[in-house]
């Protein structure tokens, strides 16, 4: 069961895993189990390598290309 407040929520992980993490973060910059787990989860969540979708219609794209050519950025 998750406890929630406005900014943080408490999640449950197996106790042996928590112990391993506590051992692992000794002497590192991580000040708590929570700060380590937050770091790892942020890293995983952000590893979405999905390509950015096209932001242009064909007409817009040509307009932008024209400007880039006029400014000398494109041949």
């Amino acid at each position: 069961m998750e406890k929630e407040n406005k900014n943080y929520t408490t999640i449950s992980i197996p106790t042996p895993l928590a112990k391993k993490i506590k051992d692992r973060i000794k002497g590192t910059g991580f000040t708590s189990l929570s700060s380590y787990v937050t770091y790892v989860l942020r890293e995983i969540i952000s590893s979405d390598k999905e390509e950015d979708e096209e932001a242009f219609t064909k007409e817009d794209e040509e307009k932008v290309k024209d400007r880039l050519r006029a400014l000398g950025y494109l041949e």
Binding site: N7, S46, E50, A55, F56, V64, L68, L71
Partner: protein, 377 residues
């Protein structure tokens, strides 16, 4: 192409034909705020769609993140005199104008708030010392902040606009050049040999270099914008492959917030489509307020930043090695090292002399010396 920060490239332009501006209360804003509006509207500050409200502001000060956990370190705020906005309430829309930039923008007022200047300064700058230019700016701000989305109606064509590309344009430019990995270099100085070495070292490992000088309000003694742009044009003309390097300006004021600003600088370059960002020694620092590598260390707090920082230490020329070196790669004593001191180079140029060629390219020095006004007064 790398995703914009927060996942979506913000576009906050509206067609002026659809707007009757006479219907809105008008407020003249300062140039810095109007530049913020342009940067929001063009997606440089993505995912921001407007000026920050209380929850985002508090979250940035405490967590260095927006309320939704997206990394963000520099509050983007707009301040008003309490008497000036006494007739205005949340839910209203006002018109913001600035003569210099020609910005006309609507601001939908979601929140009006008071704020603690000391807390703001201490959180962003780690000091309340009014000798810090960023802190001084905060203490000069008016009493009230307004949070809400902006909609840019128009702005005028200005000097240097031929160098001024939006993230939409740079993203398409990189695509057309078939650059998959792009390293951004932030600068506010003409290039010396150390800068060139850093840029070319980084470029060796990626497809393209995006030189992105900051144009805008600077402090006395900084190089003028004209000098910075002309000196880079010269360097690129003589010493860079045209198909591997582009330059475009970024109009924003320097905050001198050191490590926090380094993150902000990286986020903006991510929005331009860059995958890597060069962070040098004392990035965005001023005086002795930050440690020389604080701006490197802060990146370890952001595994989810989405742009790769490339950390560079300070470089010098070693006369024994006969090359550019740093303390990790050269075994020789300091007496053999010539530092690329910006201060020293400025002094030499101020006296109308050409710095030694092992500090600055002769063509670059000559370009700078052609200007009557080299420094901000």
């Amino acid at each position: 192409m790398i995703k914009p920060h927060g996942g979506e490239l913000v576009d906050r332009h509206i067609n002026k034909k659809n707007i009757n501006i006479e219907g809105y209360p008008k407020f003249e804003i300062n140039t810095n705020s109007s530049e913020d509006i342009l940067n929001i509207a063009n997606g440089i500050f993505s995912p921001l769609k407007g000026f920050l409200g209380k929850n985002d502001l508090n979250s940035i000060l405490k967590e260095k993140r927006l309320e939704n956990d997206t990394p963000w370190t520099i509050p983007i705020l707009i301040d008003f005199d309490k008497n000036e906005i006494k007739e205005i309430k949340e839910g209203d829309t006002i018109l913001l104008e600035n003569n210099e930039t020609g910005v006309r923008s609507l601001l939908d007022i979601e929140e009006i708030q008071s704020y603690d200047k000391k807390l703001l300064a201490q959180s962003v700058y780690r000091t309340n010392d009014v000798n810090h230019p960023g802190v001084a700016n905060i203490f000069n701000m008016k009493e009230k902040l307004i949070g809400g989305k902006i909609s840019l109606i128009e702005n005028k064509v200005r000097e240097y606009d031929k160098y001024n590309l939006t993230p939409k344009e740079t993203r398409l430019l990189f695509k057309e050049k078939d650059w998959k990995e792009i390293v951004a270099f932030q600068t506010r100085n003409p290039p010396h040999i150390g800068h060139e070495y850093v840029q070319k070292t980084a470029l060796t490992f990626v497809d393209g270099l995006f030189i992105n000088p900051i144009i805008g309000k600077k402090k006395t003694g900084d190089f003028t914008d004209d000098v910075i742009l002309a000196s880079y044009e010269t360097l690129m003309k003589y010493y860079y492959l045209k198909e591997r390097a582009v330059m475009s300006i970024l109009r924003t004021s320097m905050k001198y917030a050191g490590p926090r600003e380094a993150i902000h600088h990286a986020i903006m370059r991510k929005n331009f489509g860059c995958t890597h960002f060069i962070v040098g020694r004392d990035h965005a620092g001023v005086g002795n307020y930050y440690g020389p590598y604080d701006a490197h260390d802060i990146f370890s707090e952001f595994p989810d930043l989405g742009i790769i920082p490339l950390f560079f230490r300070s470089f010098s020329r070693c006369t024994k090695c006969d090359s550019v070196v740093n303390d990790k790669i050269c075994p020789h004593d300091q007496k053999y090292h010539i530092n690329f001191s910006g201060k020293k180079i400025r002094e030499i140029l101020r006296n109308g002399q050409i710095p030694p060629e092992d500090m600055m390219r002769k063509e670059v020095s000559e370009t700078i010396l052609k200007f009557d006004k080299t420094f901000v007064e």
